[in-house]
Subunit: 228 residues, 2 copies
DNA sequence: TGTACATCAGTGAACGCGCGTTCACTGATGTAC
DNA sequence: TGTACATCAGTGAACGCGCGTTCACTGATGTAC
């Protein structure tokens, strides 16, 4: 809950700041808020510093006091997106290791702001490579999921993929989980994203069924719930 | 195998064309090939008619003899992507109703050209709405999958989602399949895309495990194969 | 086979536009004594 | 409390650039008689 500013855009930090620092943080947050808005209404390619400045009633070059370049702004938006999901997961996991709760937290997070979801899980930009701290946050998200998945009813059967995982334990930073749990967490993750990415990309529109029920059916099957 | 030109870019159609028509088709295909290349190396936002023309040794306005606008070019690329997947599915299904074969065909199609995959299943462009014929092709793809999924071992248990599907049978164009088969096809589809979208977006890099084995494990579980 | 005409691919100049980014500068805010 | 100085937010002009798209035109290809 503490730390650097989240994606809500209004938090101003710990409070032990000078007025100038506080003002800086506010304007930075406002710029990011406008950037997110522009992202949602016209796509990532249309994100323009000048357009943001115009909407804020400032001149274009003024933004360079707050972000060194357009790329830095985008990277910051991606970082915020990862952080907000990580925060959501940590907050959800605080109530106990419940994969189902994490699943619905993920869905809530994704639907709350679809373009933010795509910033993390959407089409990758060919040139772009995320800085190290972002991959660190991503590892934290997976670790939280993995922690919850070891609480699922165990299925210790040995499959080719689990044998393969046995030899590649580096995954999730030497997390103390057996291959079966690793596999379960991976399947959990990929099945949730399967539903979400298809739904958010609009591939269920026109079908008439409710994606929320489909998602719930997947979660039920994953957690072994028959009648929920 | 007949019909309008595919995404390979060299096919020139039925042969009953005038030399001029043949030439037109060739240049159109060449433009699309360069567009795909540009798409792969710099992302969808960087697709520029002028840049394509320059690479082809032509002047920019020349391309307007072949495409009415940049948007029409992009739509054509998306259409080609859908068509190539539909063709792949139809060709695969010709050997019999085998969901597993379709799964690996999908994966092969996706890996063959990841940016083409994202053209269909990636981050949607906020303003863009696909023309009707494209949604028609998409329905055909789902119909092929559904046909194959009715051949899977049946699991007629009733869940909330299947009851819901019962009331929303419009899906896949009044396809004569029971809700259990519909659910199976949906799960099949979304689980495959879960693995593929995460893999192609690079979310498995650095983990050390082989996504192909993970994908195979998902297919095995979906088709009820224990030791494959 | 030769001539007159129509079709159409491609060019070059030009349009207005918005972009990211730099630079020298103004003016307000904060700090030190 | 008042003055001198440093910090820093924001401006306006300017840079070069590439974009999509239009237009009038040239020249080659194909067609009709």
């Amino acid at each position: 809950m503490t730390g650097t500013d989240t994606s809500t855009g209004t938090g101003t930090g710990t409070g032990s700041e000078t007025p100038r620092e506080r003002y800086r943080a506010q304007v930075r947050a406002e710029i990011k808020a406008h950037a997110r808005e522009q992202l949602a209404s016209a796509g990532a390619s249309a994100l323009s510093l000048n357009a943001i400045a115009k909407r804020m009633g400032m001149s274009g070059p003024a933004l360079y006091r707050y972000f060194a370049s357009r790329d830095e702004l985008i990277t910051e938006l991606i970082r915020d997106a990862y952080r907000s999901l990580a925060d959501t997961f940590v907050a959800t996991a605080a109530a106990g290791p419940d994969p189902s709760a994490l699943a619905y937290a993920l869905r809530g997070w994704a639907l709350e702001d679809p373009h933010r979801y795509f910033l993390v899980y959407g089409t990758p930009v060919p040139g772009y490579h995320a800085p190290d701290d972002i991959t660190g946050i991503a590892r934290g998200i997976m670790a939280t999921l993995l922690d919850a998945c070891v609480a699922l009813p165990p299925d210790p059967s040995v499959t080719p993929f689990r044998s393969h995982l046995e030899e590649h334990r580096r995954w999730a930073g030497d997390h103390p989980a057996d291959p079966a749990a690793l596999h379960r967490a991976l399947t959990f993750w990929s099945r949730l994203h399967g539903v979400l990415s298809l739904e958010l990309a609009g591939h269920f529109t026109g079908t008439g069924f409710d994606p929320a029920l489909f998602f719930a059916a997947e979660v039920d099957e994953l957690t072994g719930a028959s009648a929920h």
